[in-house]
C-alpha cells in the first residue's frame, strides 16, 4: 500500500482572491511581513502499489484531481507500513 500526498496549487499568474483575503487578514492580525498567500488543496490517496504508480498518479491529476488550465500539482509517494 502507498500513501500518495497530492498538492494542488493555483498556477502562477492566476489570481487567487481567496489567498488575497487570507493575506489581508494576516496583515490585520499584525503579521505585517506577510506579503502573499496562495491557497491550495492537499489530498491523501491510498493506493495499491503498481509498477506504473507514478504515471497513474500523474494521469489522475491531469484528468480529475487538478484542472491543468488553472492549477499545478505535485505529489509524494510514501510507503504505508501496516
Amino acid at each position: 500500500m502507498r500513501k500518495v500526498k497530492v498538492y494542488i496549487t493555483l498556477k502562477e499568474g492566476v489570481l487567487d482572491p481567496q489567498g488575497k483575503a487570507v493575506k489581508n487578514s494576516l496583515n490585520t492580525l499584525d503579521y505585517a511581513n506577510v506579503n502573499e498567500v496562495r491557497v491550495g488543496k492537499y489530498m491523501e490517496v491510498m493506493m495499491e502499489d503498481t509498477e506504473e504508480l507514478e504515471a497513474q498518479v500523474e494521469e489522475m491529476c491531469e484528468k480529475l484531481l487538478a484542472n491543468p488550465v488553472i492549477e499545478d500539482y505535485s505529489y509524494q509517494i510514501e510507503e504505508v507500513i501496516a
Partner: protein
C-alpha cells in the same frame, strides 16, 4: 423539436429550463436523469445550473466524469445544439467541450442579480434572434463565474468569434468580460447568465427567450423540408 434537460444530483435550475422550453418556447422537452439518459433521441441537450455533486473538488468536475458526458460529446460531434448554463457551463469546461476554466468571483461573493450583456456574435445558432451589439438583461447567480483562459486561448476565442455574450459591467472578473462562449464549430454554448430565468415579459424580462427561439429557428431551417 425535442430538448433534453440533463439532471445531475445537485442540479437546481433543471425545472426552470424545462419550463422555459415547455411554456416559453412551447416545444417538447424531457428532464433526463444523468444515469439512464439516452440522448440520441433528442435534437438538443441542455445542461442546467445548480451545484452538481455539491461543487466537490471544483464546480462541475465530478459531473464531468460521469458516463453521460460521453453522450454529450457525441451529441456535440453530431452538431446538435448543446447549451450549458451556469453549472452546466462549468461542466462543459471541465469536460473539455469548451476551453478555459472557472475561478471564484473576483470579490469572493455569491452574486445574484440582473446583469447587462452585450450580444457580440449573432451568427450562431444560439443568438440569431438578437441584434449584433444589442444590450440585454439576464439574471446571474453564481459564486464561481470568473472565466479564465490564458492569452493564447483568449486570442483564439476572439479570432474565431467564439465570444457570444460579454458583460458591460464585469461583475466577477472574467477574462475579456466574457459571459458566454461557443466552441469552434459553434454548436456548444456555455454561459454563466440564466436565459431560462428570463422567458416571460409578465415576470419582467423575456430577453432569454430569444436564445431558445434562435435554437428553434436554426433547427427548423435545417429540418423542415421546403415544399
Amino acid at each position: 423539436m425535442k430538448f433534453a434537460v440533463v439532471v445531475f444530483p445537485g442540479s437546481n435550475c433543471d425545472r426552470d429550463m424545462y419550463h422555459a422550453i415547455k411554456d416559453g418556447l412551447k416545444e417538447e422537452v424531457d428532464l433526463v436523469w444523468y444515469q439512464d439518459a439516452d440522448l440520441t433521441e433528442y435534437d438538443a441537450v441542455l445542461l442546467p445550473g445548480g451545484f452538481s455533486y455539491g461543487d466537490y473538488l471544483r464546480s462541475g468536475a465530478i459531473a464531468s466524469t460521469s458516463n453521460i458526458v460521453q453522450q454529450i460529446k457525441e451529441a456535440a460531434a453530431d452538431k446538435k445544439p448543446v447549451l450549458g448554463v451556469c453549472n452546466g457551463f462549468q461542466v462543459l469546461l471541465e469536460s473539455g467541450l469548451l476551453p478555459g476554466a472557472m475561478l471564484p468571483n473576483r470579490d469572493l461573493k455569491f452574486m445574484c442579480h440582473h446583469e447587462e450583456l452585450r450580444v457580440e456574435n449573432v451568427e450562431t445558432m444560439f443568438s440569431s434572434e438578437y441584434q449584433k451589439g444589442g444590450l440585454i438583461q439576464l439574471p446571474i447567480a453564481h459564486g464561481e463565474g470568473n472565466y479564465y483562459c490564458d492569452e493564447a486561448v483568449f486570442q483564439q476565442l476572439k479570432d474565431n468569434e467564439q465570444i457570444v455574450f460579454t458583460y458591460t459591467n464585469n461583475p466577477n472578473g472574467s477574462t475579456g468580460d466574457i459571459a458566454g462562449i461557443v466552441n469552434e464549430s459553434g454548436n456548444v454554448l456555455g454561459m454563466m447568465p440564466h436565459p431560462e430565468r428570463a422567458v416571460e415579459s409578465l415576470l419582467g424580462n423575456a430577453d432569454g427567450l430569444r436564445l431558445f427561439q434562435s435554437i428553434l429557428m436554426y433547427w427548423r431551417n435545417n429540418h423542415v423540408i421546403h415544399a
